[in-house]
């Protein structure tokens, strides 16, 4: 019913992936991740069903609040405490990571064709969108050196998994959904605390300084 709108939103999320790969300023990166969180939060409401299920609405509200507001706020606070604005000298430069991201997105669309999908999902962009986001997340995790950028990468990775989870939204029970959402939110809280401690212990959020432990 709303497949066109849903695909539009997935496409938007994929565009935000590329924006995240290309942005060197941390506030812009955090804004991108927050926007992607809101886009993802709206999606459950669009997936076809006769009447709006209150549980689906609850998941949507919690996602928007968590991914769109709370987590970005935490990240922004950590960023201000660390007094850093931009990512200097990433391992993988912006143009190469953009190219990799774009190539990965195309590959994701191709790969999703190869996997067998249910007829009602065959026209949907959810599977390629999920794979492209997971890939983008990995690129950010590997290619950036600032802890906050890596956390953003982790969030985009999680967003990809969330996109895939939407395929199953009617078969997974609410208890599991909320457990997953809770875990993810607590996870980011914990990461935020560790980021703060690293900042205090090393006086920097440059993960290249975390090299004492090695063989």
């Amino acid at each position: 019913m709303n497949e066109g709108t849903l695909n539009l939103l997935v496409g938007l999320a994929m565009g935000l992936n590329l924006l995240a790969l290309g942005s060197s300023r941390l506030p812009a990166l955090i804004r991108t991740v927050a926007a992607q969180g809101v886009v993802l939060g709206v999606m459950p409401l669009l997936i076809e069903h006769e009447t709006l299920d209150w549980r689906v609405a609850a998941v949507a509200m919690a996602t928007i609040a968590g991914k769109g507001v709370v987590i970005p706020w935490l990240l922004r606070r950590a960023m201000r405490a660390a007094n850093i604005e931009r990512e200097i000298e990433p391992f993988v430069g912006y143009v190469p990571s953009l190219l990799l991201g774009a190539g990965g997105t195309i590959a994701a669309v191709g790969l999703a064709r190869a996997l067998p999908l249910l007829p009602e999902h065959s026209g949907s962009l959810l599977v390629p969108g999920a794979m492209a986001s997971v890939l983008t997340g990995f690129l950010l995790l590997i290619g950036r050196v600032k802890a906050i950028s890596q956390v953003c990468g982790y969030l985009i990775l999680e967003n990809g998994i969330y996109l895939f989870g939407l395929l199953l939204i009617h078969s997974t029970p609410l208890l599991v959904e909320s457990g997953i959402l809770l875990d993810v939110t607590v996870g980011v809280f914990v990461i935020g605390i560790i980021v703060d401690r690293i900042q205090r212990a090393f006086d920097s959020l440059d993960t290249r300084k975390l090299t004492t432990l090695r063989e």
Binding site: L115, P116, A147, F164, D183, I194, F202, L213, E215
Partner: protein, 480 residues
Amino acid sequence: MISLCLILVPLAGALLAAAWREDRTRPLWLPIFGVIHAGLAAALFLNPPAVAAESWFGFDPLARAVLPAVSLLFLVCSAYAVPYLRLRAERPNRVFVALLLTVLGLLSAGHQARHLGLLWVATEAVTLAAVPLLHFNGTPRAFEATWKYLLVGGTGIALSLLGSFCLGYASLHGGGRGDLTFAALTAQGAGLSRPWVLTAWVLLLVGYGTKMGLAPMHTWKPDAYGQAPGIVGALLAGGVTTVAFTAILRVRSVVGAAGEGPVADRTLLLLGLFSMGVAALFLLGTRDFKRMLAYSSVEHMGILGLGAALGGPGVAAALFHVWSNGLTKGALFLSAGNLHRAAGEPTMDAARGMARLTPRSAAIFVAGMFAITALPPFAPFFSELQVVRAGLAAGHGLAVAAFLGCLLLAFLGLTRVVFGVVDGRPRPANVHHARRFRETAAVIAPPLVLLGLSLALGLFTPAILRESWLAAVRQLFPTP
């Protein structure tokens, strides 16, 4: 009902410990709840309850085969925690004690989870609850280790969620309802969509393999075990890895039901041998005895993976090895904790001659090292022998040869570090440090008990324990 208590009682204990006002007496809650948990686990072990096929939680045969080992390990570690936290009176222990109990409750939940989604929630929650335990020491190096643990572990666990969704989609695509209980997935069996099952297997193996510490996803392990207190290392190596291993076993059973068992076994075999090889090579190079224990843990996770790849007898051997490795590794971690306290630094370069400064801990450490490298009457010898037998019976002669080669290399690496630390004349800094550490019965008895349990398990493996492992195998490989 009792099986739910295994989860809820430690969690209630965690709340109680968090609300408790006095730092000095708070650690006492650990052994109290450890005893209750072990009592409940023993009662369930002796009188296993009937578990409804469609239930989400339950003390099923697989949980029965391994959860008591975790409970036993926690009990002994909790007894060690009391004198340990007294030694570390300068650090507040509210969070530490509460989270240790939380970890116990969540481990019980993870072992008993019969629903893929709940299993994931429990594993992720254990991962997060362990974070403050890792940086208990509060040093920059501890935060570095925690960061790597979070990033690598978080990514791994995220991939296992993706894998869980893929398995759900395999069920939907095959005409099922997307029900994520293991019973429903196994029942659908060949009706699951094969490409999605294989995708799910790869993702789940990588995800839970990261949590288990199989190479090449093991990179967080040496850092985390090297920086965490010994008791946390013991619980991670003997408890958290076990949850991930049972998760892999449960998923393997579904993949087998879908008709892709041989593929799953091949990947497990390769990953297991690769872990053993990587661990053996790193064991030859490391100079830090706590990192050494981490690599040894990677090696033993490899043995578990190898055992799991060898069909029914191999899985039974692997479950045996879960017990023998958990108990022996516990003795090693606790005695290594003593040596670390006494020497000040956990490396061969900084610590020497510990046999003179802390003779009892050093003796347990050496004995534990021989036990874990499979010296006969200790349990690891017998469980590894069973893995070898299962391997030969399944016709994997080459894999068995590689397995034995890795064990030999690991033995060389372990003896090199252990005797480097224990032998020789102590350094002045060690002598100075060791004056502040007394080898009281409270810090010697727990590792000694674990070593004794490992010996007893090897000498006379109780028939009921063997029977529980075989029951778990029957659950995982139902004969049609």
